[in-house]
């Protein structure tokens, strides 16, 4: 273990990628530290991906393992796809952060510890019987003890209006400064951010600036960091970029759908982790005409959205697992009413309350079949944080043009993780045509369930002269929309509702198969990055041929799915559930797809998929497989 003493010489080592995890108590400000580091990293031009990992409790008892909050960032001089599996660097602010995060750190990795956090009391709360700084726990790592709290307090001495207790709270910015130095991050973005954020509170601003600078300067002068690292910018397509997480991208996508359709965006939801973030993001955009309502419950939220749709708006609601259960009856009503509505499910680990801040993708079957009666609807799933933007537009397009509720299945991992996003040209976004009914459609009469060639019924909004009609959950006679209990009509309507969803146009499934593989890895949702990353690595490092494909549309499925599945000897389907897509593929195409399931509340990692591929194809070399 190194101790700190000032030196001048530094070696700069070039590396192509690094994974850093900041971990501390949930009150330590680790999410802020991580997101500031992310912004500086984005400006360097590295490709990056991030993953916050925080407890559901806002302030769990300080110093305990279940109160640990962490933020992981993977950045590289090349295109990367995931927030990384094992951190190369862990910054641990206290023993609880160390005990919960050390197992994930790569052997030989760097561990930076806030020595001041390792009191006997904190060691006990974390569950350490002996001091990990002394007992050999860290032998396999490069561990650096830095008295961050006391150095922060010293750095802020003399700032009027700051007590040592206040000062200690700025230690996360000391950590930020230190790691910023280690990886050659520019200081301007963080300094600028602190100045802006705390402009109204000069003492706090100054304390945070002092802490950040102290951390940075400590890195520059301390002997412990004989080496600093440089990660070159990643080659990227020309364009303007910003960093975006799945929540922001989703909110922007919904706003864009409003603009593209000319409809007012009406968003109603009830607070629930993690979907509330979408409400927060949208509620700031009144000036763009966005209406948000915090409803009295999940059921009210979806009903308000449906009422707004009837009134000619783009009705949207979002929730997470338990909220979907509550909304399902109303989604069925929207199926019967044949009205546009977008229902977003930011999936989380269940059943029941489950693990609200942990990810899972186990609501696929619920989305497809979780309503009574035959109740088909389209389901769309984004694959990366920035893809949430395009998936939201696609969900809205299908909903509006096909007069149907659409479920968009995101997940906690996508919602919280971030990546650089090459901003799309707004002119390239698809138009969405509401095509409101404006007059009679059957002689002088208006038939609310008369259909166009997509089998969609007219959308006649209240206030339109002469098109008064009544819709509801009772079975409707096709055409007139009158209540009907006729056996022939119900049979016809049931098949028609299935057919009209089946007819939704969906692009073919694209397969990436550079060298004629016999194994196809087929995914959906947030496993995209891990699957792509794994395929690249096994091809490059082990010469294994593997094909990949990723489903965005879960209903209807692309028309070529059966053909694609049958073209491979083996099909592997990794999912964050117990094998839900596999059930559908087997049932629909009679192909014996193989399931890899992961239900630990964590995303599917690249290494998980590599293991699965190698287990199947490990003995084969490139070219000998297919």
């Amino acid at each position: 273990m190194w101790s700190a003493s000032p030196v001048a010489e530094k070696t700069v080592e070039k590396i192509d990628r690094v994974v850093v995890r900041f971990a501390g108590d949930s009150g330590d400000g680790m999410q802020l530290t991580g997101s500031r580091f992310t912004d500086a990293t984005a400006l360097v031009g590295n490709d990056l991906a991030t993953l916050p990992d925080f407890p559901a409790e806002i302030r769990a008892p300080a110093g305990t393992p279940h109160g640990v909050s962490a933020f992981q960032i993977h950045f590289a001089s090349r295109d990367i796809l995931t927030p990384g599996d094992n951190p190369n660097v862990l910054v641990a602010m206290n023993p609880a952060a160390l005990i919960t995060n050390l197992p994930a750190v790569e052997k030989g990795g760097t561990v930076v510890l806030n020595e001041d956090g390792f009191s006997k009391h904190n060691l006990k709360k974390a569950g350490y019987e002996t001091d990990p700084l002394e007992d050999g726990t860290l032998d396999a790592y490069q561990a650096f003890r830095v008295p961050m709290t006391s150095m922060t307090v010293r750095a802020t001495e003399g700032i009027d209006g700051i007590t040592s207790r206040d000062a200690a709270r700025s230690k996360n910015l000391f950590a930020l400064g230190l790691v910023s130095f280690m990886y050659g991050r520019p200081t301007e973005p963080s300094v600028g951010w602190i100045e802006k954020k705390f402009a109204g509170d000069v003492p706090v601003r100054d304390a945070n600036l002092a802490a950040f600078r102290a951390g940075y300067n400590f890195g520059e002068t301390a002997e412990l960091l004989a080496v600093t690292y440089e990660v070159d910018p990643a080659p990227a397509a020309p364009g303007i970029y910003r960093n975006v997480n799945g929540t922001q991208a989703l909110a922007y996508g919904l706003i864009a759908a409003g603009v593209q359709s000319g409809l007012g965006l009406f968003y109603a939801s009830y607070p629930i982790t993690p979907a509330s973030e979408v409400l927060h993001a949208l509620s700031r955009h009144r000036k763009l005409g966005v209406r948000t309502i915090q409803a009295e419950d999940e059921i009210a939220a979806v009903n308000m959205a449906l009422g707004a749709s009837f009134a000619g708006q783009l009705g949207v609601t979002a929730t997470s697992g338990p909220g979907m259960d509550l909304k399902s009856e109303t989604i069925g009503l929207a199926v019967a009413m044949e009205l546009p509505m977008v229902v977003i499910n930011v999936q989380r680990a269940g059943p029941s309350t489950g693990m609200p801040t942990k990810t899972e993708a186990a609501d696929l079957l619920a989305a497809l079949y979780g309503r009574h009666g035959e109740s088909p609807l389209p389901v769309v799933a984004p694959r990366t944080p920035s893809d949430c933007f395009h998936a939201a537009i696609e969900a809205a397009r299908i909903a509006v043009e096909h007069r149907t509720p659409v479920i968009l299945l995101s997940d906690t991992f996508l919602a919280n993780s971030s990546e650089p996003w090459k901003l799309p040209d707004v002119a390239s976004l698809p138009a969405i045509e509401p095509g409101f009914a404006t007059g009679p459609n059957s002689g002088d009469a208006f038939l609310p369930y008369l259909r166009d060639d997509r089998l969609a019924r007219p959308w006649a909004v209240p206030g339109t002269p002469g098109l008064r009609h009544r819709i509801g959950g009772l079975e409707k006679e096709d055409g007139t929309g009158n209540i009907s209990y006729q056996p022939v009509n119900h049979d016809h309507m049931t098949r028609l509702r299935a057919e009209r969803i089946a007819r939704v146009e969906v692009p073919d499934l694209e397969v990436d198969d550079p060298d004629g593989a016999s194994l196809l890895v087929l995914g959906w949702g947030s496993s995209y990055g891990a699957i792509q990353g794994a395929a690249r690595r096994v091809r490059r490092e082990q010469g294994i041929s593997v094909a990949t494909a990723h489903l965005r549309h879960l209903n209807p499925l692309p028309r070529n799915v059966g053909e694609v599945l049958r073209a491979y000897d083996r099909v592997l389907v990794p999912e964050m559930n117990m094998g839900q897509l596999v059930k559908i593929l087997r049932a629909q195409y009679l192909v014996d797809c193989e399931s890899y399931t992961k239900v630990d509340g964590l995303p599917i990692f690249t290494r998980d998929v590599i293991e699965q591929i190698v287990a199947r194809m490990g003995r084969q070399t490139n070219g000998s497989g297919a």
Partner: protein
């Protein structure tokens, strides 16, 4: 743009602010429509009514259809929203726009309609099971928010459509299929519940009392914000006679306490009885001859605090004796979402690709290449 009907029940004219819908311009441009007075027929749909013969719902439907022309809003601008239960069918019989939702959720559906489109007149028709049992939460929150809705609650103290179970307004001891030994549940007093939820307009009327029903609807239609109207409605199949004390000839004359704003509260065949504040401070029923007219309580529906209305709601714990009907409370407070709807609509008019581009480019960006 003109719809040919000058009066608006809630006094709002927002058509010119961008809420016009497709097709409307074409109509108003081609010809100024002749002012044809609306009639009951304009509000009657072609659907065959399917309530049980003798149901109180027929009387309410006829009254509402007759009354609507008076509001002066064309049927194209009116939306009825209902839930599940016998009252839920109401929507199919009105020739307006209509949504027949799921059980209990009509106020939430209607909130979505009304907050998106302040140019529409939105009416909710619900029942005691729909509004007070499965949908209780949406009702109280609509009232709390003061959404611009008219909510007509048909209270028949029974579940009719599911064939006769007790409801949240059934009297204690009510024997039904699901309570063969008598209900043990304490019933809701819907007027008191609405007042407790801070409703800005609360009234009660009786299905077959055409004059009083119309008068109450008139007051409700004129109210800005949520107007809550409890309508005592007889279910002649499963709970016949539940409201006879205030509904049946021979009894109603004795028991209806007709509340009139600004007037002393009197009732009885000869107005010989009244409501006065007793020595202990509580409202009580008195003989006018005993206490003198000047001692009678004067009804004031416009009081900002709901205490008098609440006392009146509790004057009769059940409609088996003298029972107040009429408007209990009618106060003004901010209407939910109306101004915002106008603000959003005008904001939206200025939003296009350029603003979207700006939004996407907000925050920290960097350029490659």
């Amino acid at each position: 743009m003109s719809d040919g009907h000058a009066a608006s029940g809630n006094g709002r004219h927002v058509d010119d602010l961008g809420f016009g819908q497709p097709g409307e311009d074409a109509v108003s441009e081609t010809a100024v429509p002749a002012v044809q007075p609306l009639t009951k027929a304009d509000f009657s749909s072609d659907q065959e009514t399917r309530w049980c013969p003798g149901c109180g719902d027929y009387a309410v439907l006829a009254s509402v259809q007759s009354f609507m022309p008076e509001v002066g809003i064309p049927p194209d601008k009116i939306v009825f929203v209902t839930g599940i239960g016998c009252a839920g069918r109401f929507v199919y019989y009105m020739d307006t726009y209509g949504m027949h939702g799921i059980h209990g959720r009509a106020p939430a559906l209607a909130t979505g309609v009304a907050t998106s489109r302040p140019d529409l007149s939105v009416w909710v028709v619900t029942g005691d099971g729909d509004a007070l049992s499965i949908g209780g939460n949406h009702l109280i929150h609509a009232l709390r928010r003061n959404v611009p809705l008219k909510i007509l609650l048909f209270n028949n103290q029974i579940y009719g459509l599911t064939k006769g179970q007790y409801s949240p307004t059934s009297e204690e001891g009510t024997v039904t299929k699901s309570t063969p030994f008598g209900s043990q549940d304490h019933p809701f007093n819907p007027v008191a519940l609405a007042l407790g939820a801070e409703a800005s307009f609360v009234a009660r009327t009786v299905d077959t009392d055409k004059g009083h029903l119309a008068q109450t609807l008139r007051a409700a239609a004129a109210h800005e914000g949520t107007a809550f109207v409890e309508i005592y409605q007889n279910c002649n199949v499963f709970n016949d006679g539940a409201f006879d004390a205030v509904r049946a000839k021979g009894q109603r004359e004795l028991n209806q306490i007709r509340l009139e704003h600004g007037r002393p509260i009197r009732f009885g065949a000869e107005d010989e009885r009244g409501v006065a504040r007793g020595a202990d401070g509580r409202l009580e029923l008195v003989d006018v001859g005993d206490v003198g007219e000047e001692q009678l309580a004067v009804h004031d529906a416009s009081r900002s605090e709901p205490t008098l209305a609440f006392e009146l709601a509790h004057l009769a714990s059940r409609p088996t004796g003298p029972t107040p009907i009429g408007v209990f409370r009618d106060v003004r407070r901010p209407v939910y979402g109306q101004e915002l709807a106008l603000e959003l609509e005008s904001a939206r008019a200025d939003v296009g690709p350029e603003q979207l581009q700006q939004l996407l480019h907000s925050g920290e960006t960097w350029t490659v290449g």
